[in-house]
Symmetry: C2
Subunit: 453 residues, 2 copies
C-alpha cells in the first residue's frame, strides 16, 4: 500500500535525523505528518527514539503531538505521557478536545491524573471532570461535549451567519436545533440550508424525529444505532432531553473495533483490555484466572478417565486414541460456538429464531460425525489392525460431535437469554463438555464391549 | 433499549395484521419503518410471514423494500429475492443505488443474475456490470459510482447552484473537485463554501492533497485508511486518477464488521461467509475440510501417545492426566494466539517489534506454567497420594506452556511475514503443537523416571 510505504520512509528518516541530531529538520518532518501517520511512526519507533521524537514535537507543537497520542489510544498514549511532569501533561491535555483529554487522563495513574486536573485551566478541567462522571463505556464518556447547536427561532440566513462564526467545531454535517432551554427539538443539514431562501424559519426545514442517545446508554448500543441507521453522528441528551454532546462516526468505528476485540478475546478466555505489549506481570494476572478455571475443568475430564482406569489397564490402545475424540469434539464445538456467538453479536440470532439454528447445528454435527467417524475408524483399523477399536472411536466421535453442536449452540443462547455476554461461553467450557462426553462415550463404550477388543 | 422494544412491537403487529388479513393497515405500518428496522423485522419473522410482508411491500413501495433488503446484507437478501421472477428482481434492483444492486445481483444464482441484468434498463445494467468487473472485496466493488463532483473552473456561487440542482446524491459533506477530464484535483467542504463570498474561485478554497483509493485497492486497506484518518468518505479513482466513485463511512463500517467476523471465524477454523442460518449441507461442506485437517493433526498426537504405550501399560494413571497437560497447553496457546493475531489486525504489532512480544509471551508462559503446574502437582498428590506423578504433570505443564507461548507468537507472526493472513494460524495448529509437546514431555519424563512412579 502506498500510504504504508510513505509512513515507513518517514519513520526511517526520523531515526536518521535523530541519530545525526538534525533537530530542525526532524521537527519540520514531524510537523508535516498527519496525526494518524505520526501515531503509526511513534508506535513503530524503538522506545528511546519515540521518547525523543515525541518530546521535541510536544515542546514545539503540543496540539499535533497530542492528536497523535489520541490516535494511539489511551493505553499506548499514556505510556508516552507517564514520564512527563504533571505540569506538562496539563498543558498538553488542553490542546485536544475534552473527550480525548478525558480518555487520556482517565488512564493515567490516579495520583497523576488528580495532579493534572488541578493544574489545568478550571474551565477545561471542569469539562473533563464532568465527562469522567459518566460510567466507562457509556455514550457520555465517548461523546464530544462541544456540540454546535442552533436556536429554533433562527431563520436560515441567521443560522448560516452563526455557522460562519463557529469555532472549534470540527465536523458540521448535521445541524442540531434546540429550544431556549437547550432541549433537542430537531435536526437539519447544511445542504438543506442551501436549498431554501435565507428568510425561511429554521423550524420549517428541520426534522423533528431526531434519533438520539441518552448519556447513560451503553456504547455498544450507540454503535449499533449509528451503524444500522447509517448515521454520521448521534446527538447525546440527558434525561430531560437537553443536548449535552455528540458522538461522531469515527468514535463509533473505534467502539466497533473494541467490541470485536472483546468478543474475540472472550472466546479465547482473554480479558478485554490486554494488548500485545501489556507488561508480562499484568498479562499473567489477567490470564491466570481463566487458566485456573480451565485447570478445574481439565480435572473433571481426568476424573472421567480415572473412572475407566480398569478398562485402560486392559486395553492401553484406548489411551492412544483418547486425544482424537477429545480434540475433534473440541474443534467442532468451537466452530459451532463461534458461528452462534458472532450471529448473536451481529444481531442475526435471537432466542426467538434459535430453534432453527439448533436443528441446523444438530444436522451439521451428526453429518461431521458420520463422515469423520468413518474415516477415523478406517484409519485406526489400518494402523492397529483392530476394527473394534476403530468402530468404537467412530461411534464416540459421532456422539461427541452431537454434544459439541448442542453445547456450542445452547450455552451462548442460554447466556444471552440470561442477559450475560454470550462470548463468555468461552471455548474453555465447550471443550470441557466435549472432553467429558468424549471420554465418557469412548471409554464407556469400550467398557461395554470390552470382550470384543 | 428503546429502539429494540419499538421494533419488537412493530414485528408483533405485522404478524397480527397478516393473520387477520388487514393489508392496508399492514402496508401503512411497513411504510412507516426505517429501512434498517424493516430489515430487523424481516429477519425475525418466520419464513412464510416474511415472504408475505415483503411481497406486499415490494409491490407497493419497491424502493423501501429493496433498501431493507440491502440492509439485510446480500446473503439473507438474496434468499428473499430468489423466489421472485427475473422481471420483478430487475424492476426492484433499479430502485436502489447501483453498488447495492451489484452486491445483490452478484449473490444471485448465475443464471438468474444474467437474466436480471438482461431485463434491466441498459443504462443501469451497464453501471452494475461495470461494477461487477472489479474483483470482490476491492474498493471498486463497494464504491458508489454516482459521485457528485464540481468542476475546478467554478466559483463558489456557481458551485452552490450546482449543489442545489443535484439529485440522487445522498450524502454531500466532502465536495470533490475535478478538471475537464474528470481527474480528481481537489476537495473542499460545504462549510468552507459558506465561509467565503460567492465570487471566490473554487480552486482557492480547495485542498489539493486529497486522500483517495485506487479502484483495485483491497477493501480492508480502504477501511483502515478511512478509520485512521477519521474520514467520512473516500474518493475512488482509476489508474489515471479519474474520479470513478466514492466509498462512504457506512460502507466502511460494514467492511470492518465483516473483517472482524472473518478473523474470529478463521481463529476457530470456520470459513468466512458462513452464518447462523446457512443451510446445513452448505455448512457441512464448509466445516468438514478444517475438521479433516484437525483429524490428521489429532492422529499426530495419537502417534506420540502410541510411542509411549509401554509406559502407559505400566502406569495407567498417566492416561488419566494426559487430558490435563493437553487441555491447559491448548488454552494457554489460544490465549497467546488471540492476543497476537488481534494485535496484528489492529496494526499494533509487526515483525519489527515482535521480539518484545515474544519475550513477553515467554515470561507469561513460564509464569503461568509455574503457578498452575505447582497447583496441579499438589492436586494430583492429594488425589492419588503419588507425589512423583504430580511433579511430572507440573513439569510437563511448564514445558507445554512455554511451547504454547512460542507457537502462539511465532506462527502468526511468521505467516504475516510471508504475507498470509495470520488468523489462518487457527487454534487447530496451536492445539496440535501443544498436544504433541504436552504428551511428549509428560510421557517422555514418565518414561525417564519410570522407576519412581
Amino acid at each position: 500500500m502506498v500510504a504504508h510505504r510513505r509512513i515507513e520512509l518517514a519513520r526511517d528518516l526520523v531515526k536518521r535525523l535523530l541519530r545525526i541530531g538534525a533537530t530542525a529538520n526532524l521537527l519540520n518532518l514531524l510537523q508535516k505528518q498527519h496525526p494518524a501517520d505520526l501515531a503509526t511512526i511513534f508506535s513503530e519507533l524503538p522506545e528511546k527514539e519515540r521518547e525523543a521524537a515525541f518530546s521535541l514535537l510536544a515542546e514545539q507543537n503540543g496540539r499535533l503531538a497530542m492528536e497523535a497520542i489520541s490516535e494511539l489510544g489511551p493505553e499506548v498514549g499514556t505510556l508516552l505521557l507517564s514520564t512527563r511532569t504533571a505540569e506538562e501533561i496539563a498543558r498538553l491535555a488542553q490542546e485536544i478536545p475534552s473527550d480525548d483529554a478525558a480518555a487520556l487522563i482517565n488512564s493515567l495513574p490516579e495520583e497523576l491524573s488528580i495532579a493534572v486536573l488541578d493544574l489545568m485551566r478550571p474551565k477545561e478541567s471542569g469539562v473533563v471532570e464532568h465527562l469522567l462522571e459518566y460510567d466507562d463505556q457509556t455514550a457520555g464518556r465517548i461523546m464530544n461535549p462541544n456540540v454546535f447547536a442552533l436556536s429554533e427561532d433562527l431563520t436560515v440566513g441567521e443560522a448560516i451567519t452563526e455557522l460562519q462564526g463557529a469555532r472549534d467545531v470540527e465536523m458540521v454535517f448535521y445541524l442540531y436545533v434546540v429550544d431556549g432551554r437547550r432541549h433537542l427539538v430537531g435536526v437539519t443539514s447544511l445542504r438543506r440550508l442551501l436549498l431554501v431562501s435565507p428568510e425561511t424559519p429554521l423550524k420549517r426545514i428541520m426534522t423533528t424525529d431526531v434519533i438520539s442517545a441518552q448519556a447513560e446508554t451503553d456504547q455498544e448500543e450507540v454503535a449499533q444505532e449509528v451503524a444500522s441507521y447509517n448515521l454520521l453522528a448521534l446527538p447525546v441528551v440527558d434525561k430531560e432531553n437537553k443536548l449535552v454532546g455528540v458522538i461522531t462516526v469515527d468514535d463509533v468505528i473505534d467502539v466497533i473495533k473494541d467490541e470485536a476485540t472483546e468478543d474475540i478475546y472472550r472466546l479465547a478466555g482473554v480479558v478485554g483490555d490486554e494488548r500485545s505489549f501489556t507488561p508480562p506481570l499484568e498479562s499473567l494476572r489477567k490470564r491466570l484466572p481463566w487458566l485456573g478455571v480451565n485447570l478445574v475443568t481439565a480435572f473433571f475430564a481426568a476424573v472421567v478417565v480415572a473412572f475407566f482406569e480398569g478398562t485402560i489397564e486392559r486395553v492401553t490402545a484406548l489411551a492412544v486414541f483418547m486425544p482424537v475424540v477429545a480434540g475433534m469434539g473440541g474443534n467442532a464445538g468451537t466452530q459451532t460456538l463461534t458461528v452462534i456467538v458472532r450471529g448473536i453479536a451481529l444481531g442475526e440470532l435471537s432466542w426467538g429464531n434459535s430453534r432453527k439454528a439448533l436443528f441446523k447445528e444438530f444436522a451439521v454435527g451428526i453429518g461431521n460425525g458420520l463422515v469423520l467417524g468413518l474415516i477415523a475408524a478406517v484409519v485406526v483399523w489400518g494402523m492397529r489392525g483392530n476394527l473394534a477399536i476403530g468402530l468404537l472411536l467412530g461411534a464416540a466421535m459421532i456422539v461427541n460431535m452431537f454434544v459439541a453442536a448442542t453445547a456450542g449452540t445452547l450455552i451462548p443462547l442460554g447466556l444471552r437469554a440470561a442477559n450475560v455476554d454470550p462470548a463468555l461461553a468461552s471455548s474453555v467450557f465447550i471443550t470441557t463438555m466435549t472432553d467429558v462426553f468424549g471420554f465418557l462415550s469412548f471409554l464407556g463404550l469400550a467398557t461395554l464391549f470390552l470382550g470384543y477388543l
